[in-house]
């Protein structure tokens, strides 16, 4: 392996280690201090570590020097942009957080000692790495050395701040942390600039980039940053500003330029811009005027004589009551917990629990009171809201609250809160308390939903019974109507028949009067004809039996179709007994 390739591999090894360190720092920023940009730093640096490791492995397994050089630019780009942007965001977040003493202030001294040990370790690491990295890798040795020096001094400054905190010199400690934060922001910005500049360069020329920063060189090694900048432009970008007149002139007038810039920046602090949703309070040496500054541009004495504090006084603010909201919107379903945490309030003599989810909308109605009467007016309002809600519901039962008139309850609570907020001089006005959901805790919500289901089932059963009734009764009525109508029809028919027959009889009787016997005989024979036509009949000789009376009708099932003489014989044998002998007794 030649020396140049060895140098490149060293570079990638250092890049892996550095990225891992920054990934851990980013994770700590996010997990410990909840600085969200730390996430960006962590993820970016982790990705950088992974890619550097990949390139390193490829280099060890035999990738050519040319390929490694091409990838070097990518590693630098990742290093500058990801770590630079992440670091800058983390510092800005830190600077924007309200100034307050850290919770673990009593552990400041041990932490300072721990940091000093870390600084010592960084010094040792620097020495070891300088020995380990080959001398030919000059760029790398130089850059690495500067980074480690920066780590040592930053750690020393942080530990100094902690020691100052521990001996209650809070003000000086605060300024120490501010210096550290602004310094980190400054070199993060240089990293970002260099990363952006790197993207404009070809990959081949990017291989000559060194990992050191101009700010490190000027601060730690006392080198002239402008001369270094000129050399950097010449070496890495091919721009020669030394040969022009701009460079020497700039160098000569430098104190004046810097002084002018400082004064200009200071003069800018004489302007205050209040955004449309804000109101401002002007403080002169800490003493505030009662009148608020409206949105727009305002002139004031520059810092530190006057300062303007801004408040979102025109904005409708909100907070959740009864649950802790998730960052994203969530459905309000009984059987699912709402938000990150949902509270349960005891009701009904302590034998029942209820969850009430409310959104409190409020606004700042007195900026002066909001700013100076209380330290945390929003927290006080939240406390008052919980107390008012608890007081209102502890005397009720769950079922009462589930069916309560929410509009009037909401109004009642808002009114109570406004009275209390006024008496506490919070400078806040409650606009509305929206009762989003009143429900039994989600653990038992299914039981309540079953009751509703059962009520629905009950209703359904009753409805089905009513449907049956609606079906059956009209059918019965129709059947009844039919019966009556049929009876009427039968009646008409019957009467008609009777009338007809009566008239026919009278007419027949009248006709009979002419020759009654003949008429009767005629009728009798006619009837006989009609009755016996095509029917079985037997004619017996009147002399066949004298002692026995012959029946007129043979009730036996067997049809008689035998010849007359044979029939007579059969009849003799099976003659039906009469008077005292037979079956008719």
């Amino acid at each position: 392996m030649n020396a140049e390739k060895q140098e490149l591999l060293w570079l990638f090894l250092v890049a892996v280690i550095a990225h891992i360190v920054f990934a851990l720092a980013g994770a700590a920023c996010f997990l410990v201090w909840e600085l969200h940009p730390g996430r960006l730093l962590g993820i970016g640096a982790a990705a950088g570590a992974a890619s550097s490791l990949g390139i390193l492995i490829q280099g060890i397994r035999g990738n050519s020097e040319q390929a490694l050089k091409r990838q070097q630019a990518v590693v630098y780009l990742a290093w500058y942009l990801l770590v630079g942007v992440g670091g800058a965001f983390a510092v800005i977040s830190f600077l924007k957080t309200p100034r307050a003493l850290p919770a673990g202030v009593d552990k400041a001294f041990p932490a300072a000692v721990f940091l000093l040990l870390g600084a010592f370790a960084a010094l040792v690491v620097r020495r070891v790495l300088l020995l380990a990295v080959p001398e030919r890798a000059e760029n790398l040795r130089y850059g690495l050395s500067l980074w480690l020096i920066n780590t040592v001094w930053s750690t020393v400054l942080a530990s100094t701040a902690l020691i100052l905190l521990s001996i209650k010199l809070h003000e000086i400690a605060f300024w120490a942390t501010q210096i550290l934060a602004y310094w980190t922001l400054l070199y993060s910005c240089e990293m970002i600039l260099r990363g952006v500049a790197l993207t404009a360069r070809s990959q081949a020329s990017a291989s000559s980039v060194s990992p050191n920063l101009l700010l490190f060189e000027s601060v730690y090694l006392g080198k002239n940053p402008f001369a270094r900048f000129g050399r950097l432009l010449l070496e890495e970008y091919g721009i020669d500003i030394g040969s022009s007149r701009v460079g020497p002139t700039l160098r000569r007038k430098l104190p004046l330029v810097i002084g002018g810039l400082v004064v200009a920046l200071w003069a800018l602090s004489a302007f205050a811009v209040i955004q449309p949703h804000e109101l401002g309070l002007r403080e002169r040496f800490g003493k505030s005027s009662r009148s608020a500054l409206s949105p727009g541009l305002h002139l004031k004495y520059p810092w530190p004589i006057e300062q303007v504090t801004r408040f979102p006084a025109q904005r409708l603010l909100s907070m959740t009551i009864g649950y802790e909201a998730l960052s994203r919107a969530q459905d309000m379903i009984w059987s699912r917990p709402h938000g990150r945490k949902e509270y349960r309030f005891p009701v009904g003599d302590g034998r029942e629990l209820i969850s009430i989810d409310a959104l409190l909308y409020y606004e700042i109605n007195d900026v002066f009171d909001y700013a100076y009467q209380t330290q945390n007016p929003d927290t006080i309002l939240a406390c008052l809201a919980y107390a008012a809600l608890s007081e209102r519901i502890v005397g009720s039962q769950l079922d009462e609250l589930l069916s309560v008139d929410r509009a009037s309850l909401s109004e009642e609570l808002a009114e109570t809160l406004n009275q209390r907020a006024t008496s506490e001089s919070l400078g806040l006005h409650v606009v509305q308390l929206c009762l989003e959901s009143i429900h039994p805790p989600f653990e038992v919500a299914d039981a309540y939903q079953r009751v509703v289901s059962s009520s629905l089932a009950k209703e359904a059963r009753v409805l089905r019974a009513n449907a049956y009734r609606e079906n059956v009764l009209p059918a019965a009525q129709a059947q009844a109507d039919s019966l009556v109508s049929l009876a009427r029809a039968d009646s008409c028919l019957r009467l008609g028949t009777a009338k007809g027959e009566a008239i026919a009889f009278i007419q027949t009787a009248t006709a009979r009067g002419v020759a009654p016997d003949l008429f009767d005989q005629h009728l009798r024979l006619g009837t006989l004809e009609a009755s016996l036509f095509e029917r079985q009949f037997v004619v017996l000789d009147r002399r066949i039996s004298t002692s026995r009376l012959q029946p007129w009708i043979d009730l036996r099932a067997k049809p008689l179709s035998v010849p007359l003489d044979q029939a007579n014989d059969d009849f003799e044998d099976t003659a039906i007994p009469w008077e005292g002998e037979g079956a008719f007794q």
């Binding site: 202030v105 302590g350 009646s491 009777a498």
Partner: protein, 296 residues
């Protein structure tokens, strides 16, 4: 302008600024400052604005935020007079009343709150020992004593907080009332059981009403049909009566002939297709088989 005067000017400005910073301090609106000279408190400044001091390390201005502040206590389980466990989360609104005492007794407001939390927990346990659970949660409004409890805790705490911490407690409130998890489990069981009872009752009630409706329907159907049958029978009866009257009137004209005619009709109807009629030769018209011709 030569370099040396510019540097001197810059240095003078910087020295002047440092001097101003070292000899003055500002007290912000709502803040109080305790000035200590070599550690000994010399004056308390409550007026906001710019004030003079000897430079550090001779005099130090300790700024204290004297605005009112709310803090929420930890969850603390306590026992009521009727031996029931309850968890109370309180909040207290406080402010620094005696800055010097505050500075001497605590480092920061978070430390003051930690100490105040302890005092409130202690007072809460003592006060709740005098009240039943019904003083916190009850459907009987007369039993609820939340304002009394809050006042009692405040009275227990305020003098102590003022004398020991230099802070004035404006009021103590109950932010949340909760039950221990073990009790919550049983409350849930009871709530489930109660709801199951309601659900079963609803189902049974539904069955009862539906059955009643069906039964009533059957009764009404039977009544409708019975009425209809009765009416139909009446109609038919009236028709029969009318028919009988008509027959009777007709019969009166010749009862014997009517009987004869009716018998013949009955005969026609009675003799079916499968009937076998046995007649004798001495009956009409078969007597013709034996008799001589009437013309002889």
């Amino acid at each position: 302008m030569s370099r040396i005067p510019v540097r001197w000017l810059a240095a003078a400005v910087i020295v002047l600024l440092i001097g101003l910073k070292a000899t003055t301090f500002t007290v912000r609106q709502g803040n109080t400052s305790v000035v200590t000279r070599l550690g000994k408190p010399t004056r308390v400044i409550t007026d906001p604005g710019l004030h003079l001091r000897w430079p550090w390390p001779v005099e130090t201005a300790n700024n204290i935020d004297s605005r009112r502040k709310a803090f929420t206590t930890r969850f603390a389980e306590t026992l009521t007079k009727d031996k029931k466990n309850v968890i109370l989360v309180n909040f207290a609104v406080w402010s620094v009343d005696d800055p010097l005492r505050f500075l001497q007794s605590v480092v920061s407001s978070s430390e003051a709150e930690a100490k105040l939390d302890g005092m409130i927990s202690n007072a809460k346990n003592a006060v709740m020992g005098n009240y039943d659970l019904s003083a916190l949660v009850s459907t009987d409004q007369d039993l609820l004593k939340i304002p009394d409890i809050e006042d009692a805790i405040l009275n227990e705490v305020k003098d102590q907080a003022l004398s020991k911490l230099g802070i004035r407690v404006w009021h103590v409130g109950i932010r949340r009332i909760a039950l221990p998890e073990e009790n919550v489990r049983y409350v849930f069981d009871q709530m489930r059981a109660e709801r199951s009872q309601f659900a079963a009752r609803a189902i049974a009630e539904g069955r009862r009403i539906a059955t009643a409706i069906r039964a009533q329907t059957e009764v009404e159907r039977a009544a409708i049909l019975a009425d209809a049958k009765e009416e139909a029978a009446q109609i038919r009866g009236q028709a029969e009566a009318e028919a009988a009257r008509l027959y009777a009137e007709a019969q009166q004209t010749d009862p014997r002939f009517f009987k004869f005619l009716r018998s013949l009709e009955a005969l026609k109807r009675l003799i079916g297709e499968k009937s076998t009629v046995i007649l004798r030769t001495d009956s009409d018209p078969f007597d013709l088989l034996e008799k001589e011709s009437p013309t002889k």
